[in-house]
Symmetry: D3
Subunit: 340 residues, 6 copies
């Protein structure tokens, strides 16, 4: 089986126990996660040969990153060791009307200060079928833009499929900078994924008259967005997640897959949330699995949405479910009856 | 007051904190529980003279079982000490669309390898008014079938009322074996209790056109099931719990009592679940209390359902509530207002 | 800025982890809280110059009280050190149909045995604009009635606005005693706050035909109650919180502000509760902030209700939110979307 | 087997995790313990028919006391339910040069406010062989002196052996009051137990030239103390524990038994302390077991000291060891090798 | 680099927090460990290509075993998935005079019921340089003896060096059975490792006049034991660990290496123990690393002892140290000064 | 009373529970600490008017810093809010031969990137009697050197006494840079404090023939060092802490005070360590208290050493003791007997 390579930043995630706020916390649970690593773990859980590429510092936090990824069956042979610090983020779990809150402390991280010379893409991409990155990575630094561009060029040369989760992060860069950079990089992207806001914030393409905070969804609008992305950037496949935030505790969750001119809307799940961070990444993980495996579009989008529905019920960023867990839900059993 | 004797297996229950999955767990909370022990504890909580009979090993886990039961006022004078191991089970709490999961590690437990010579039923059943067992016990081993049969015969001789919770466990025995064994043992049973599936799986009696996972309930079907159980096995009293699994987080919960040819349906509670395991046993505990105490059928079924509604809000298998807690809910106060 | 003084009892709050019952608890989380201290903390969080007055013992629990209040920016220069013990209370968190439960162990606390000579109100009230107390304080002891009366008289002399949260506690005094005492003290009160029951229990004024446990609210009735309080006690401002207890897990929450003859009803929030204790105090904290700051009545009541809606999602009695957190919700964003 | 009755106060014990100080604590572990209850539990652990008598309030803390004692096989049929509050104490574990610290919050506890009418000693003492109390109980209140005196008189009438652990508590009463009261009660005592300070503080009898804080022990002095106790109060049996406090982490521990004119010194253990509170009570528990069982004096004192040596290595006040655990140590195996 | 293969049983290890006894425990920390797995992890930590071979069940506990080993860089490609249950053991940490206690619940584990057909040693042993097993494995079952014998025969054929840690477990088999079986298997062993008791219990070879519980060590005796092992079984290399158990908290720790007729005694460490279980395995891990790497005997034994000294200060069975950690201690820095 | 101002960096301190290593940790306890903040807290505990000056970011971690310091009575009016991140450090507690380990993640912290324009020393130093800094602060950045120099110049102008703890941090700067910078800043220092290594590493002044890791102390050597510091830099007061690291668990601890040409050696404590980090700062806190209070040199050094002895027994960097706690130890009671 050919491998899938995910490239990006992995961080320490510090999270107060239960619903404690950061200013109330006496201790933090630590896990290690990040947009692209979350996807790599999902893929490994589904049996895909999954590799992760990044740069992490040579200390016990960096070691813990490696231990975590290896325990999840993600290949880390191409993680570069070096740099000064591991990025960290603090997650404060919201409830009801109180939003979850993420504080990033990722500046000056090893990957954000990495150099193009750190990564030998010819060697990394040997036997690779698919390359995945997100809009977060080029937002980290100008050097990260260069590294990403280099990787994408090599992918093009080698005929490797490229997917990108737009993932706009307003505290990493401006609208304008995001647009400028991502517009260029999109030229290499085959599969484009985003949520309701990303297309607008990153590519300037918007679905009319959808008030996200009010939880309404405009199907036609999303189809139009996907078509436009295809037209402007040549992505034959576009996927958009559709989150209806009733509150921090309960969300509606569905998605649309646009492929070869056709659009497919998944069923919608109303989810009682355990941990929402990483939800989008688990959608990408599920989707890439189906695309690598050649699922039909209707099954593909249902798998991806069911997978990420389950992630919302799991602590931590990683989606710790198997193909059979997802298929059970996807095939209609969301009753939550005890499995003995 | 005459005593109620419950006979079966009690195990260690290991449960990750919060919503962590077993593969994520760094620690497990331990309690000790089991279908019949859960009933014995409910009865003791309601003031019934409650005795538990089983076999547990002579080590610190066995000691912990005794400490737990004694702390709950359950008489353990007839628990036999010996055998090799205490059965264990692992409970992974589900949420929303993710089901709870129970992993059993109960094979070769002391009780499953016990011998008929371990139990002197003449002495155990002195001053006993009621004997309770479940379909789990004979499923443990052929010796357990023999021990159960012996106990039931003694009950018949002594005029002790016998109740049985069918409790089908598909990983302990097959459909066919269950049917063969339970059909024989049912001859001794006065009060038969089950959930929507048990009658079908154990006795081959089914309510037509009820799709449990879809959460529909067919009243007429359940009445027919009860009548048939009465006709075939002579049980004058049959109780069926009716769970509507909207998700792992929210369930509808009600029940039917069939007594002397009449059927009584309880009110239905929509429950935000804290811990669902042991829910059925808490229904049996409530029901046996009302039957031993001579409640009217309508009050009996309402008490049993209200009691088990409360159990779903309590951590662990045991239903840690009092008669007055149950009566408050049964009499209509489910508002959850703070009690100061 | 002139300061607000809150006077009352602060206690240790011992709370089992998660949904464990007290009889199941192996450990208790400890925080320090109390009706008036909760208000003082809210005010400090909103930037008000907030002072707390009480009496606490000279031991490590008393020290912990001071540390807690100081960490929240509440001035404790007028907390008297002495007396025998710190009051304690145990909070058992309810869920679904199981109510939360509070066990008080506050008898013989330092403040309940304090003497009028402990407090030099002339000095305490220097530069004070507002004085707040609740119906709990005079319920503690006859001496506490005297101390409160003395404070209120001084307030009148100095033209300090007085607010009172009626807060009836049936285990501290009888209906009759409450009525007798509070009727007298109400003469000094400018702003009267209560929930649906307080006016009836403490002042004997009731809203007809509102069945609180059934969750119905009778707007006209509450307006009538407020008017009557104004007529009988001269309070130009009356606020009533309107809780609809669907269950221990989900409540409806809104409030009415009656000011200068006009009544203003807030929007209603349906809340998935994290911790309900202290919810009423957080309303008072929000309301006093708006009154001290001269908000319009419609904004005042919306701020107070939004503030206390958020408190229900926060562990512990204290409302750990900022003005901007409240305004975001008040201005319509209750979607709980992640803040990055 | 005849039973042993222990009478006194049992409290909630709140203890920060690890070596946290109370002012640093965010949570407390709760257990339930007290001087005489600790002895009752030791006796039950050794297989003695052990009964505990006290008064505790009718709330969830009182219920937890009963659950705890029952789990340890202590008979609680004569625990009176009533009164206002359960006494509590806070234990801060010391280390090295930092002493452990105990804060009591026991005033107004149910037992301290109990009345002689609460206890029907004729019924309580049926089939009783031995009665144990400590100097703490009469120190609680004048009513407790009366209750104790009544119990002791009944014991004399019935020929029940009486033991008393002097246990001077300077924050409960003065030197003078202790002397006055205990001098009277000692008339009923057959077995007197104390540590190095008690005899001096309570009875005014001192061992010359032993500087306890310097850790020196003067054998002759202790023999003289025991003889004098025998002479003045007629106790044929006197036991004195000899603690050498090198630090809060390491203590030397031994004891002397004086019986029928002969004195027996035990071997000394140097202990790395896990939890020192309850150490003295575990000595009494061990000693009473040997006296009830008719051990030779040399074996008796070695058993009592070995038992309490082990208690210092166990969390909580209760000594959770068996006769065989103690005998193994007493017979020389203190090597701590892993038992598999 | 050629790989080292370790073969044996890995179990779940459940351990109460801190110094709680099992009967006091409300929760257990879980890790996964076992004699040969502990060695495999040590080797991987030192950079050796380390493989582990065993059989584990197909459930979440089995998955957790794999995650753990993979996170430690141990190759698990030859772990067979199947069988009924994962063995478990409970570790109660001792202190001072109270011994640590291990309760095994390993009967009927997947590996103990494995068959010779489960393991294809020709394929497993490809590119293998060293094979390690312990006396525990053949003690599990007769089938395990067969499997072990088969593996050893293949090793001989392929010229693979074989090491064996005698590790006598008295609750798994008798003296006599151990002797019979191990005497046969020793024919294949090149490097024999044991503690003070193993040689006597397993091989019937004893060092005269060493009283282990008294902590004396007889150098000449140990040399004689090693010589005799060489003579009888042809092991050119013999290592014996020398533990002096002053108490459960403090141990003396050293070892002897006998190689090619010469004996080398290491320096002795007095250790304040954090977690002693796995200490012997960490010695083996250190020793095999040095033998595989071709260290001089004096450096080899010092490395192995320093490595295992450090393990005693680390929670869990696994020795989480690096070569440089060990070398620092081995080169004399045991001062424990803070590393910044 | 005039105030003492401490200036430096305060960080978040993340520490695994118990003796877990960082790579084993699933959660970290968080406190907030730093060399100069630790001193400020000690001073506040002793009743000194203590102010802390630093720069911290405007996020929830920064808020937590303020809450912590305010809870400890440290004035934070001159803490500047701004900059990008709060420095963090990870503390892994060592034991026996395994050293504790500190991983710093402090680069780019708000204070390290602060500008001279952030601090208006004229205003900050109003009513200040004493100014304290450490060698860590100028090591953070060149801007920090400038800020420190400016502060020191103002101190000189205003006649404020200046103390400096040399505190060499080899991972922040080189030997050479430290020497160059500190040599200049020492011109402003009145009281110089250091441990055995600092004088050599920072000032190039060494005590001959003292092998610190071997735990020997050369009194004459230290006197010579102090004299030389006085001669070269004009510090009339020099204090040197003398740590004898027997292991990570047990240290000898004493100190020397050199004042006006005389040297005073304290008694030595052998300490069983709970938490060693912050030990040196607690010495400085104790010493500054005595110097500000005008203690005799012999009492001053004994107080400082006793204070810091106690700190080693307390979790976290802060020394949570009172003057009376220290005096009790200083006056000879290190027996650790329980305080009731």
């Amino acid at each position: 089986m050919k491998k899938v390579v995910c490239f990006g930043e992995i961080m320490g995630r510090l999270c107060p126990v239960g619903y404690k706020k950061i200013i109330q916390a006496n201790s933090f649970e630590i896990t290690y996660a990040g947009g692209e690593a979350n996807v790599a773990v999902s893929l490994a859980n589904y049996g895909v040969d999954s590799s992760y590429v990044s740069k992490i510092p040579d200390n016990d936090l960096g070691k813990s990153v490696l231990r975590t990824l290896k325990s999840c069956d993600v290949n880390v042979d191409n993680v570069v060791i070096g740099g000064e610090r591991l990025g960290m983020y603090y997650v404060e779990k919201g409830a009801s009307q109180r939003p979850s809150k993420v504080i990033y402390d990722r500046k000056y991280s090893a990957i954000s200060e990495a150099d193009t010379s750190d990564f030998d893409w010819d060697s990394i991409l040997v036997d690779t079928e698919w390359f995945h990155f997100t809009g977060i990575t080029p937002a980290l630094s100008d050097k990260c833009i260069d590294i990403t561009r280099e990787a994408l060029k090599k992918c093009k040369e080698k005929g490797i499929t490229v997917s990108c989760d737009l993932n706009y992060r307003k505290n990493l860069w401006t609208n304008a900078k995001a647009k400028e950079v991502m517009t260029e990089l999109m030229a290499y992207v085959d599969v484009c994924i985003g949520n309701e806001e990303d297309a607008e914030m990153v590519l300037g393409i918007s679905a009319d008259s959808t008030d996200v905070t009010a939880g309404q969804i405009n199907r036609e609008g999303y189809i139009a967005v996907a078509k436009q992305i295809e037209e402007e950037y040549g992505c034959k496949t576009v996927a958009i997640t559709l989150r209806e935030s009733y509150s921090a505790s309960i969300n509606g969750w569905s998605a649309m897959l646009y492929k070869d001119g056709e659009s497919y809307f998944s069923k919608k799940y109303d989810i009682q949330i355990v941990d929402r961070v990483g939800g989008g990444d688990s959608f990408v993980g599920g989707l890439l699995y189906t695309l690598v495996s050649g699922f039909e579009p209707t099954k593909a989008i249902e798998f991806a949405v069911a997978a990420s529905c389950l992630k919302h019920t799991i602590e931590g960023d990683f989606n710790q479910v198997t193909v059979s867990d997802v298929e059970k839900l996807m095939n209609g059993d969301g009753s939550g009856r005890v499995q003995r």
